[in-house]
């Protein structure tokens, strides 16, 4: 069942990475929650690239936009909590990857495509979003939750084997 073949130190390193990504997600969610009237509209409306019509459609539909906003806020918070606590870690990590992928395709960094939302740093195709996405991929395929996290308890309680 436990497929990790990592040593203790390696597992600790992975848990630290997981917790930090979780922290980042959680605060992104909480900060948006606390900002009165926060809306994804600003980010979405600047969407460029092949998917931009979809994001534009979202921005132009107040009802859909409201749902997207709520999903984004609570998604971020839930994923953040999951990653920090190591609870349903794999689900949280996959959901996190999907969310980040959405952010990325909203404003992809194609070569020669220099307009994008002002960002700190310099990037060519790969930006911090993609790095975080790759890190979540690592989290997905290593069961850090069963090393340090509620998953360990849940697993013992509910898994037969």
């Amino acid at each position: 069942m436990n497929e990790n073949k990592f040593g203790r130190l390696q597992m600790i390193a992975l848990v630290i990475m997981r917790v930090m990504i979780g922290w980042h997600f959680l605060y992104e969610g909480v900060a948006k929650f606390m900002k009165p009237g926060w809306s994804a509209a600003g980010y979405l409306s600047q969407s460029k690239g092949i998917f931009s019509p979809i994001f534009e459609w979202i921005t132009n539909n107040p009802d859909i936009l409201a749902i997207v906003n709520q999903m984004n806020i609570w998604g971020l918070i839930a994923i953040g909590l999951g990653l920090i606590m190591g609870c349903f870690t794999r689900i949280a990590a996959v959901a996190g990857m999907l969310l980040i992928l959405l952010y990325y395709v909203c404003n992809p960094l194609f070569v020669g495509f220099y307009y994008s939302i002002p960002m700190e740093g310099n990037y060519m195709i790969v930006n911090k979003n993609l790095v975080e996405l790759a890190a979540l991929f690592v989290i997905t395929v290593t069961s850090t939750g069963q090393f340090a996290g509620l998953d360990r308890i849940l697993h013992k309680l509910f898994c037969k084997k």
Partner: protein, 475 residues
């Protein structure tokens, strides 16, 4: 490693899947303290933001039971409407009357608006009639063309009513002077409508940033501007034209002149008075001084001179003797291009302040001179925001010459007015009537500003530097 060793044990004993040992608990909850840390950090962050906001708002006064005030509006044009809408957001105001000579249009509009808000208001064409018939008025708000201000204000004061009179106090210094004297004689309150004097951002800038924290250091230069886009003359619906005899009675030659009075000599003062006086008033205030000299260049360069007697383009330079030494202040107003809007820019040897009434553009920025003492303390107190990190990529990569100084940190003045721009100034006036506040722009200040600003037009005509006699500012 221990993990791996445990595994075989787990799988060997069947019920082991259900038993949780101490180790499982410890490791299962190993990351929980992170949430505690997160909560702690979040609380700190929220407290910090709250402190910033509180500092921005200033100390809220405890609102005592407020007396209701009876108010009339004299002059229900564009600005009268703006003031009316601001006053409708102020509690304990009872509107009693509106007076405007454009009875078929502006008067009706204002009366209807107030009726919608359930005020029983009477409309008047003549202000004398209003003053005679409306008993028990506490205040009249005057927003008539500048050349009427003195007569309207003085008669209202003499009728025993407090007055809020729009800037420019008067189009003549004699007019403005007689207003100061009337206020003194009658003992009634007179507030001049330089509304930035009550704006929380401007008050914060003066009281906290300039005076208390002295973040500007020694201010040596000032510049400011109001850029306004080219615009056609104001028109009017032909069927609502005011009869010629009535226009004449109130000092207007034609409907065109009645609508565009600000451009005519003897009626208004042109853009330098209309727009400039707001901002040049801030020069006097923030520099704590009155100018010694002024030179200016201006003219009607774009519009038709026949209908625009006052200058559409003006540039003026003042020399101030401030308590700290000489300061020079430049002001420009033009009415042919609106880009970059309006702001005032103060430059001291320790900091730069860009401030504007506009919430949209340049509303409030501070730049820290790299050589000046750090502002950490003021950031902590919320006087200015934490500096904005200039993102690479926002500026093209440039190679700085060694002689150039790096661009200074940019801070925000964290005070935002979420109300109509004129509301705080009106509130200050009403509270002064109630005796709970002091006027922020008493007639003496309005007069000083009038002296300062009206001389620009003189200097343009004279084509030379004009001096101010310190006694000119006194009454």
């Amino acid at each position: 490693m221990t993990e791996e060793k445990k595994e075989p044990k787990k799988s060997s004993s069947k019920p082991a899947g259900k038993t949780l040992d101490r180790r499982d608990f410890l490791q299962g909850l190993a990351t929980a303290p992170v949430l505690g840390l997160f909560g702690y950090a979040l609380k700190k962050e929220i407290d910090y933001q709250k402190a910033q906001k509180a500092a921005a708002l200033g100390t809220p006064a405890v609102v005592p039971e407020q007396a209701e005030l009876n108010v009339a509006l004299l002059g229900a044009g564009a600005q009268g409407e703006v003031l009316l809408n601001a006053m409708l957001k102020i509690p304990n105001i009872r509107f009693r009357a509106v007076c405007d000579i454009w009875t078929e249009y502006n008067l009706k509009k204002a009366v209807n608006l107030l009726k919608k808000y359930k005020f029983e208001v009477n409309g008047y064409q003549d202000y004398q009639e209003m003053l005679a018939k409306e008993q028990g008025l506490d205040a009249v708000i005057i927003a008539t063309p500048d050349f009427w201000h003195a007569r309207h204000t003085i008669d209202c004061l003499k009728a025993g009513v407090n007055v809020y009179c729009e800037k420019e106090m008067s189009n003549t210094l004699e007019g403005a002077r007689s207003m100061v004297l009337a206020a003194r004689e009658t003992g009634k309150l007179l507030q001049i409508g330089h509304q930035r004097r009550s704006h929380p951002r401007y008050k914060h800038a003066y009281e906290k940033i300039i005076k208390e924290a002295k973040m500007m250091g020694r201010m040596v230069t000032v510049n400011g501007q109001w850029n306004r886009s080219a615009a056609p003359d104001l028109g009017y619906p032909a069927r609502y034209a005011i009869p010629a005899d009535i226009l004449k009675k109130y000092g207007f030659k034609s409907m065109e002149q009645f609508r565009n009075w600000r451009w005519y000599k003897g009626l208004g003062g042109g853009p330098i008075v209309d727009l400039g006086s707001h901002q040049i008033d801030i020069y006097n205030w923030f520099l704590d001084a009155r100018p010694k000299t002024v030179m200016a260049s201006g003219g009607t360069d774009y519009y038709d001179k026949a209908t625009h007697e006052w200058y559409d383009t003006v540039m003026a330079i003042y020399e101030y003797e401030t308590p700290d030494g000489i300061a020079r202040a430049y002001y420009k107003t033009q009415t042919t291009n609106g880009s970059q809007g309006y702001f005032e820019n103060f430059m001291g040897d320790q900091g730069t302040m860009v401030i504007s009434e506009s919430e949209a553009l340049y509303s409030g920025l501070m730049y820290h001179e790299t050589s000046a003492p750090p502002w950490d303390e003021w950031v902590r107190l919320g006087y200015v925001s934490a500096p904005k990190v200039i993102m690479p990529g926002e500026k093209p990569e440039v190679v700085l010459d060694v002689r150039e100084t790096v661009s200074p940190d940019e801070h925000k003045i964290p005070v935002v007015l979420n109300d109509p721009y004129h509301k705080p100034h009106l509130e200050n006036f009403f509270n002064a009537i109630r005796g709970t506040e002091k006027l922020n722009c008493p007639p003496e200040i309005g007069y000083e500003t009038a002296v300062t600003v009206l001389k620009v037009n003189d200097a343009i005509e004279a084509r030379r530097t004009l001096n101010f006699d310190p006694r000119e500012f006194e009454i």
